[in-house]
Subunit: 395 residues, 2 copies
């Protein structure tokens, strides 16, 4: 084989997902993209805050020398300062400074950098399931192994199951709240319980277990929910995040890592992250985007638009008898499939020109994911078809 | 230890380079950046083509829907089309299409993606030395091992030494022309000789050996030199490149991979690259930059400015008796150190407020690297100090 064996395997494993995407593209070509209801991708459809263009124009006019030059591997000092100031306030952690944040190529880059810096070969990454499918690859890239642990019926953390799963091999617990694919937000009690569990396990195994929190959807929450801060609750916590969803700029690959100032060995960890940002080939987070986000701390897309879409979709699906946990954040809904075989169910949806992703892809068979970051009318037009598929499945 | 053992080691290995940088920064603080002659970094000092700003303003005015959205992992079709059209012409390979190129986060991203797609554990990457220090890490990231091979006195390829070094373990030969740190350009005869060697070795070992060409400096060449095309000369060749130097935008992390259309198993290789671009956390090359370079194919900074700097520096150093091979491209000069210990010599330069990098960092002790992508006056002001250090070293 030309390519590495592992890569061949990975391609093989994901080939059914690709196949579904390809079938979807064939559908879109056949019927016109407007007549296909594509809920398969988490590509935010709400435009970035209008301020974004002004900031770019300002930067062009200011004509900074070296505007597009290599920067420090950790990010521009001004960007790190601005981010740290925002996080201090958002997380209520006054000790957090620019030295505790590293600018990255999106949250995907952030997670790879953090895992590379921390994982020795065979170290385990404990992940509540359902989970974002890429985590398996990210852990493997760094020589580690992702170890999924089930969550409760309502997708909240099952701390007993986690206690069992966290053995001496565990180095990282990776959570994602608001969650992709479920929209679940872990509440205060869960977060405190998890922190207590990790304190206990770290003491038991005489090693530091790190809590890595992937939270690009932190600002996309509904009904007055606030996402609890990990930084405040657990000393060995690390945030991986991005501006992809907050500012609707996922293609620009701009994100960050933030490390709890209370972490043991914090200087080593941050030096490791900065080195890994360099040697993994990211080098530095994209320059112009770093300068932009330095000026847009706290800015956000209009979240109430996602809320309206969520309600539209949830009300519609509930009326047809779909069973689901109402999302508290992010822009995904993860209903049970009315038939056991989720891949088959997603094919039935495809026959009605609806594209969605089977739960199997997220380690949770018997479910399917709907990304509702789409125009309202896509939801409205697709609802009758969702109803028909439910009816067919029930008969 | 908090961080992975390997990362601790890497930090340890590179700590003397860091130390020198830190000393340099102390110098800059002490005497003011203007009074320190910093030749340590390959950060292009010639501004981007003025067209760049117009292109960005045009894009802002056009207000494309989803301008900053996730794109395909391989890159936007329009960008790939534009790049392929340019490469067809530049390399004289009419069969090359958009399907044969993958947009990446810079050349650093491109190299990591290519190695991850190709290397099985323990596979060797043969690299002519001196070489860019990051190659070791990139090979290691993908489970491979970089194997340096000496070049000739004039830094041209030593094909006999390479023939010996290419064993059954070799999967990739990685070259960099114009070269960092030497400025060498491999000529037609070298490239044809290398291609013939790889054909023979591939046949001997009954496996495909890939020629990976890191060529971000392709457009930065002097004296009418043309960089020979690998794509035209060897069927299993891959180009990794970026717009960092051609457009002076290294901080923006925009580059590409281009695969010879004649490659065996080309579909597997490209599918592997696209997957790796995704799972390594790059996801897609930065969106806005992809749209920009689609409109700037063939644009370039004013190369004659680098030529003037090269001549200024070479003439000056020659007059003091420094011994070097005159660079044919890139913006680095790699003279012999007048004393054997290159680290010590670089410290002597530092005492005169000149920052450079010891050859040891590039696998070539007894040399030092001067990055001459600096203002002319930095060169002019620093020359007397270069002269003094030479005099001291000779006495």
């Amino acid at each position: 084989m030309a390519t590495a064996k592992k890569i061949q395997e990975f391609i093989g494993q994901s080939s059914w997902i690709r196949k579904m995407f390809e079938e979807g593209m064939v559908l879109a070509k056949q019927y016109g993209a407007d007549n296909v209801f594509d809920f398969s991708l988490g590509n935010p459809n709400i435009p970035p805050p209008p301020q974004l263009k002004d900031v770019i124009r300002d930067l062009l006019n200011e004509d900074l020398p070296g505007m597009h030059d290599y920067g420090p591997n950790a990010g521009y000092p001004a960007t790190r300062e601005a981010l740290a100031a925002f996080l201090r306030m958002e997380h209520g952690v006054p000790a957090l400074t620019a030295d505790h944040v590293v600018m990255t190529c999106g949250a995907g880059g952030a997670l790879n950098v953090a895992m590379k810096a921390l994982l020795d070969p065979g170290d385990e990454v404990i992940v509540p399931a359902p989970f974002f499918v890429e985590y398996r690859f990210y852990a493997d890239n760094a020589g580690g192994v992702a170890r999924p642990v089930k969550t409760k019926e309502d997708f909240s953390l099952d701390l007993e199951a986690m206690a069992e799963a966290i053995t001496e091999k565990a180095k990282i617990v990776l959570i994602n709240s608001p969650n992709n694919p479920t929209g679940k937000v872990y509440d205060d009690a869960s977060v405190r319980g998890l922190a207590a569990l990790l304190e206990a396990k770290s003491a038991e195994y005489k090693k530091d277990i790190y809590l890595l929190s992937d939270e690009p959807y932190r600002e996309i929450v509904y009904d007055g929910i606030v996402v609890p801060s990990l930084l405040k609750n657990y000393k060995n916590s690390i945030i991986a995040s991005s501006y992809s969803k907050t500012l609707s700029i996922p293609g620009e690959r701009i994100g960050f890592l933030a490390v709890s100032p209370a972490m043991a060995g914090i200087e080593d960890v941050i030096a490791g992250m900065i080195l890994c940002n360099r040697i993994l080939g990211f080098v530095n987070a994209p320059a112009l985007m770093q300068r932009i986000v330095a000026r847009m701390q706290g800015a956000s897309v209009a979240v109430e638009e996602y809320k309206r879409k969520r309600d539209l979709l949830c009300d519609g699906l509930a009326s047809f008898g779909y069973s689901f946990i109402k999302p508290q954040g992010a822009f995904y809904l993860f209903p049970r499939t009315p038939i056991a075989d989720d891949v088959q169910f997603v094919r039935l949806l495809q026959q009605k020109k609806i594209l969605a992703v089977p739960g199997t892809g997220f380690g949770a068979p018997g479910h399917f994911r709907i990304a509702y970051c789409v125009p309202d009318e896509t939801i409205i037009k697709a609802l009758p078809a969702f109803g028909e598929v439910m009816k067919d499945a029930a008969s």
